[in-house]
């Protein structure tokens, strides 16, 4: 979490999985905006939230990994390498994905939002419309060399298309949350992703 934009990146990641029909769970993030999640395209009826997992968050995560495809957790402190590998093994065995929002030793892929800039706001005019974000992926194995990609989030119509109030009211959820702008190829996600 070097720069801002990490939560949006997380939501965009989940949205891609959720639209493909996966079940998701988010542990220990009481401040996550569910409205933003819905706007990004996450199916809220397949998203479970455990805002306050208490001291035994790893037990909760392990239980969720048994049945849920993608589990996101914000650990309350640094994770010990032993616990990290135990959760990774559990995820690998069950065929699910564990995403830690924070530091995770031994993660297969680490995603970082390096730079993010909002568009649409001037002095006293406009509104926040979209942001340009640079995401850096580092990792092990196939993802070892590190890649960088530029995204627009959310991907809206061009500025001069005007604002469609009806469309907004309908909360058009079909809109893709992420669009790849620059050339670097997307990293392949392995079983464990550290963000």
């Amino acid at each position: 979490m070097a720069a801002s934009g990490a939560t949006s990146l997380l939501i965009a990641l989940l949205a891609a999985a959720s639209q493909a029909g996966s079940w998701c769970a988010i542990v220990g993030m009481p401040m996550l905006g569910a409205l933003a999640a819905a706007e990004a395209g996450i199916a809220l009826d397949r998203l479970a939230l455990v805002p306050h997992p208490g001291p035994e968050w790893s037990t909760v995560v392990a239980a969720l990994l048994d049945g849920v495809d993608v589990v996101v957790a914000m650990p309350p402190g640094p994770i010990a390498a032993s616990m990290s590998s135990r959760l990774a093994a559990r995820a690998r065995q069950r065929g699910s994905v564990f995403v830690a929002y924070g530091q995770l030793p031994g993660a297969d892929v680490v995603l970082n939002s390096k730079h993010s800039r909002w568009e649409g706001l001037e002095a006293g005019r406009g509104r926040l419309r979209r942001r340009e974000m640079t995401v850096v992926a580092r990792g092990r194995g196939a993802a070892a060399q590190g890649r960088q990609a530029r995204f627009f989030m959310p991907d809206l119509a061009p500025m001069n298309a005007g604002w469609d109030g009806d469309k907004w009211r309908r909360r058009d959820l079909k809109r893709p949350a992420l669009t790849l702008v620059s050339a670097a190829p997307e990293p392949e996600f392995e079983k464990v992703v550290g963000l």
């Binding site: 720069a3 801002s4 934009g5 990490a6 939560t7 949006s8 939501i11 029909g21 079940w23 769970a25 009481p30 401040m31 996550l32 905006g33 569910a34 409205l35 933003a36 999640a37 819905a38 706007e39 809220l44 009826d45 397949r46 998203l47 479970a48 939230l49 455990v50 805002p51 306050h52 997992p53 208490g54 001291p55 035994e56 037990t59 909760v60 239980a63 969720l64 990994l65 048994d66 049945g67 849920v68 495809d69 730079h115 800039r117 909002w118 706001l121 001037e122 002095a123 006293g124 005019r125 406009g126 509104r127 926040l128 419309r129 979209r130 942001r131 959310p154 604002w163 907004w168 909360r171």
Partner: protein
Amino acid sequence: VSRTLLVWCPDWPIAAAGIVEGVPTFEPVVVIEANRVIACSAAARDEDIRLGLRRREAQSRCPQLHVIEHDDGRDARAFEPVVAMVEALAPGVEVVRPGVCALAARGPARYFGGEEAAAEHIVEQVAQGCAVEAQVGIAEGVFGAGLAARSGTIVRPGETTAFLTGFDIAAIGRDALVDLLRRLGIRTLGDFAALPAASVLARFGFDASLAHRLAAGLDERPLAVRVPPKDLDVSEVFEEPIERVDAAAFAARALAQRLHDTLAGHGLACTRLGIEALTERGEELHRVWRHDGLLTAAAIADRVRWQLDGWLHHRIGRPTAGIVRLRLVPDGVIAHAGLQLGLWGDVGAQRDRAHRAMTRVQGMLGPDAVVTAVLGGGRDAVDQVRLVPWGDERLPERPDEPPWPGRLPPPAPATVLVDPLPAEVLDATGARVGVTARLAVTGAPATVTIGAEPPVEVVGWTGPWPVDERWWAPAEASRRARFQVTLADDRALLLSLSGMQWSVEAIYD
């Protein structure tokens, strides 16, 4: 015509209001429906209040009157224990309406040694068990017994027709017909019964013909006996208190199978399950599990096991002794019409797997710890989201339908602060930025200071989006002006100004 025993609780809507809502029934009380008095207490009657008065008139006759709105559900609910009490003495009770129930007199009369003794027993049982005053009448047929109960009479066998003769014609309870008969000079049930049946049918129709038979004491309708609700609870008492999870799991499986067999035997299934445990030191633990499908034997066993696991391993609020009694109470019982699986089996399996995992976590942390978000109407990111415990019905708090002026346009902030951070917004001259009553901004924001951080320069800003919510309810009212701000360090914030205090509501993270 069979002898019928009828139990009548006078002024039942009043008594029900007393039981359910704690209204002092010895004071003047009336129950109102469609602005007319439909029941009044004895004290109200002494104040010259009669049925059919308007609310205003009743209040003018007795200023200290308690006025209660009529509620069928309340009357029926309060009557349920009375029926249960009567059923405890004699089976086969028909609830005629809330406040009145009837049963065949033959059984209790033989059992208690006479109709008088049976009537006394029932009145006493109801008075002691429910603290409700009741009167009993016995006659041939429900209609005759109902009139007999008004005066607490036991009509001798074969004398019902003679007993009914003297009653006013209004007792047949059909307003239009009563009015017509009065104008024809027929004032008592006896007069009406004396008319030839064929002529009554030809002149007044079927309903009047039925009333004619009632007036003649020929009430032949058999009692529609209510089937008492089945006792579906299962419980188990353990000689050795359970303290270990594996023992609990074993007990849970057996108990779950028994509950499931009981339910299946009655062709039922339950959607909610109450688990109650009693420990050696008398602590009672209780929790209700909800499920949006039907609970199978394995699902029941899992929930009981997780619950016991949670209770036995909980750090806080852990019982101080082992569990000696376990009871499963099925709730939300419905007829089992088979379980509908998803059209594509795979989706169902995945869903089941996810549900099991969530329910497992609910067992560890409590049912409210796992939630899902439901979107509804509202003006900011907190109001539009309602968190519902997993497995509950997903209903929004407010409808999405009406327009919500002042709602922020998308994209929504990804991080919504639970407790807004205090902030300070200054313009280029160093004065605090404010908003006038006409929503004009007093100066362009130049720097934002969040909490104890150093001030950050503002790159772009827009607003205000005013919100003036629930001004009619002072406790919930909120009046705010909101601004979107981008800062020099690439952050984008949602700021709000309320009562000259700036705060950070959300971060466009």
